[in-house]
């Protein structure tokens, strides 16, 4: 009782959170914590994606929010009210499932009508809303079909329409595009994004596909090991990863392990195993004498030009992509150092086995933790 009172006070202070996880922990077997002390605020109307490798706890969080799993500890609140003890059918949260979960014994219209029926709406209202929802996903002609007669993409649209037809304020999506092929998936990403913009609902989206997360979301919560590693907007996440896991998980990343030898005005200097000194921005690396992972994005590296950090490199492999060339190099003892060279006339000079200088700016080099190495 006491805790709940405290939460109410807290909520008054911070009013803009619509969904709130507070010190939430979850364990299935009483031995291992699947979710460790989760704190998360989602403002109304936001598109938040929970991104992470499988087993990172993101789906468990979603299921706790939906009410299909109970939180072992902590409070989950919706619109200021704790919902831990409210059964799923009273939460009024729309949900899209991984395999769509369209009821196979009902037609598309009956599927859409179901949430309205259990709410006791009249037949005419139901029909209006079903038509509205079908129009919204451009599936008006398919009302009388059975789910089995639809393609994967069409089923996906119906599942989407069904989760929105009763106009919930919050919609949860559990890897809804996982079963679609690449092209359809990208198309549906835009469609879901546009629906979100048009309807203004709050969306919590779970995926393990980072490009999906970056494309669609306002905010991305990167999960690993039951903990949110970073909660940020897609550009921040890519440009300014806060730890080595995020840097590694989002996009492509070059890492150089080095030892911190100097810290000055949040700029560090580190010595690599080859004895070279590299400068970078201090993010979450340790004190002088500790190891750090220097993270540099492949497209931020220049070939053949000197700048703040310069290193000797040997070209090991060239892969022609089209708009750029992927160039695998040996840099500071790392054989998997990738440089993306824009496709211009000068790339004609690149040859395998060639020695070259590579350089990058201090701002593009982030000194992170070593991921327990």
């Amino acid at each position: 009782m006491l805790t709940i009172n405290r939460v109410k006070v807290d909520l008054n202070v911070e009013n803009n959170s619509f969904v709130r996880f507070q010190n939430v922990q979850k364990s299935y077997d009483g031995e291992v914590l699947v979710v460790k002390d989760l704190n998360l605020d989602i403002p109304k109307g936001e598109f938040l994606t929970m991104l992470g490798p499988s087993g990172s706890g993101k789906t468990t969080c979603l299921m706790m929010l939906a009410g299909f799993e109970t939180a072992t500890h902590g409070i989950i609140s919706l619109n200021g009210n704790p919902i831990n003890n409210i059964p799923p059918h009273k939460r009024g949260i729309g949900m899209v499932f991984q395999n769509y979960a369209l009821f196979p014994h009902m037609t598309v219209s009956e599927n859409l009508s179901f949430p309205l029926e259990v709410r006791g709406l009249t037949k005419t209202t139901r029909e209006d809303k079903v038509r509205w929802a079908l129009d919204m996903v451009q599936m008006s002609e398919f009302g009388n079909r059975r789910p089995a007669q639809l393609s994967g993409g069409q089923q996906q649209r119906i599942a989407l329409a069904r989760s929105l037809v009763f106009e919930p304020d919050l919609v949860l999506m559990d890897e809804p595009l996982g079963a679609l092929d690449k092209q359809l998936r990208e198309h549906m990403q835009y469609e879901i994004k546009h629906l979100h913009e048009r309807l203004g609902v709050t969306v919590v989206y779970v995926t393990h596909d980072q490009s999906e997360a970056l494309t669609m979301s306002d905010k991305v919560a990167v999960f690993n090991d039951g903990v949110i590693q970073q909660l940020a907007s897609p550009p921040d996440l890519y440009e300014r990863p806060e730890n080595a896991f995020v840097a590694q998980f989002i996009g492509e990343n070059n890492k150089i392990i080095a030892e911190v030898i100097e810290i000055k005005n949040s700029i560090i200097s580190a010595r690599t195993s080859k004895g070279n000194i590299i400068k970078g921005k201090k993010v979450n690396c340790g004190d002088i004498g500790s190891k750090t992972t220097l993270s540099i994005r492949p497209e931020r590296i220049n070939v053949g030009v000197k700048s703040e950090n310069t290193s000797e490199a040997e070209i090991l492999e060239l892969i022609y992509i089209g708009d750029h060339i992927r160039c695998r190099m040996l840099v500071e003892g790392d054989k998997d150092f990738i440089v993306k060279v824009p496709n211009s006339s000068k790339i004609m000079n690149l040859k395998i086995g060639q020695k070259a200088k590579v350089s990058w700016s201090i701002n593009d080099c982030r000194a992170l933790d070593t991921l327990g190495e």
Binding site: F68, H105, F114, V118, S163
Partner: protein, 420 residues
């Protein structure tokens, strides 16, 4: 379209002009042949050892040539007789000739017992007349009637006329509590001799109650099995399958020990004060006993198909329903239950067909009002040796089952049935 082109009939052709369908079946021929070869031994066993004997036996229900085979002289004359006029001297002469021949070849017993089924008392009439037939002299009519007065009776001759038809509805009529008379009409047997219809109805009734009881008891078990974690559900599944490891006879005998007057159940009732020691429940040698033990024995056949269908229903359906605002009951009744109907259909029809032909359990536990049609068929097979009647009753049972199967197909749809 390089590989195919359309001709005027819209038939797709291959490159060299052979219709694609022909080419395809040709290329599939070998694999089909192999598949057929694999099932051939079983197919032969079933058709030669099962289907063929059953069909042959079923013909006995409408065909019995005992009379025609042995009464060579009399049969053609009886066929011409109208069954109303007095039997002629010619008929008596043929009869005596046949009786003499039968006595000699020692086949008189067969004909006598066949006749006895048509007209009780004919056995002794035939056997004793045959003993004396050799010494009879013309005119045979008078001398034969002198031996046995019954020969002057028109009913005796009518019964012989009915029996002389090898292809006859007489057994089918008898299986349905009716009688086929010499003038070709079928009439109902007197009230006190009608037993078969009652038995058929009771058999259907018992089977139906067993199906319903099995459904009520089995559905929750299947649901539990399907929703528990696999480690526990496998253990419980073994418990469901455990009865299959003991023979049907043993299980039935165990029920005798459970249900009898001094049995385990009644002892418990007395202990808990539900029954008094002097006035114990009669749970055995009646319909109740048959129902209880048959429900128990057939329960796994109900649980398994329902379980295997439930196993294929992902939990996300019920979750989806709940997320849309359905209560647990609505989610179950509107979403979960309709998807289990194929399993219920499979389980119900399986249990029903097994129950309708149940034999050992009603024979041991059924007593007077718990016996079923199969027990009667068995009686005619082994005791009364009236195989023709047994075949006719079996045929009627088969028709009933096929009819119910057809109704099931119309109502539920046989392709809706799922065993897993």
């Amino acid at each position: 379209m390089l590989a195919s082109q359309n001709n005027s009939n819209n038939e797709v052709l291959t490159n060299d002009g052979i219709p694609l369908k022909k080419k395809l079946s040709k290329s599939l021929f070998k694999s089909r042949l192999r598949a057929f070869g694999l099932v051939t031994p079983l197919l032969l066993l079933i058709s030669l050892g099962f289907v063929f004997p059953i069909l042959v036996f079923l013909t006995r229900g409408v065909y019995n040539d005992t009379f025609e085979k042995y009464m060579i002289n009399l049969t053609p004359i009886l066929a011409e007789w109208d069954g109303k006029t007095e039997p002629t001297e010619e008929m008596f002469e043929a009869l005596v000739l046949d009786l003499v021949a039968l006595k000699k070849s020692k086949n008189i017993g067969k004909v006598a017992s066949r006749m006895n089924r048509e007209l009780s008392g004919s056995r002794s009439l035939f056997t004793s007349s045959a003993r004396k037939a050799k010494n009879l002299e013309s005119p045979f009519k008078e001398s034969l009637i002198q031996v046995k007065k019954k020969w002057g009776n028109l009913d005796t001759w009518r019964a012989m006329k009915v029996t002389s038809n090898s292809l006859t509805p007489v057994f089918l009529a008898s299986a349905l509590d009716m009688k086929y008379t010499a003038d070709g009409t079928i009439v109902q047997k007197p009230e006190e001799r009608r037993i078969h219809i009652k038995l058929f109805v009771r058999t259907l009734e018992i089977s139906l109650i067993v199906v319903i009881a099995g459904l009520i008891l089995g559905y929750p078990v299947a649901f539990l099995l399907a929703s528990l974690p696999i480690r526990i559900s496998n253990l419980l599944l073994i418990l469901v399958l455990l009865p299959f490891w003991t023979s049907l006879l043993v299980r039935t005998t165990a029920w005798i020990a459970m249900l009898q007057g001094q049995g385990v159940l009644n002892d418990m009732f007395v202990v808990f004060g539900i029954a008094t020691d002097e006035d114990r429940f009669t749970l055995i040698y009646n319909k109740a006993g048959t129902l209880i033990s048959m429900t128990h024995i057939l329960l796994p056949f109900m649980i398994l198909p329902i379980y295997s269908v439930m196993k294929t229903i992902p939990p996300s359906y019920v979750r989806a329903a709940k997320s849309m605002g359905a209560t647990s009951w609505t989610a179950f009744w509107r979403i979960y239950f309709p998807q289990t109907i194929p399993g219920i259909g499979a389980g119900a029809i399986l249990v029903f067909i097994l129950a309708i032909s149940f034999y050992i359990t009603p024979a041991l536990i059924g007593g007077q009002d718990g016996t079923m049609i199969s027990n009667f068929i068995d009686y005619h097979m082994r005791k009364s040796l009236n195989w023709s009647l047994a075949a006719a009753m079996g045929g009627v049972l088969l028709v009933i089952v096929l009819f119910l199967y057809w109704i099931y197909d119309r109502v539920v749809g046989i392709d809706n049935m799922k065993l897993g």
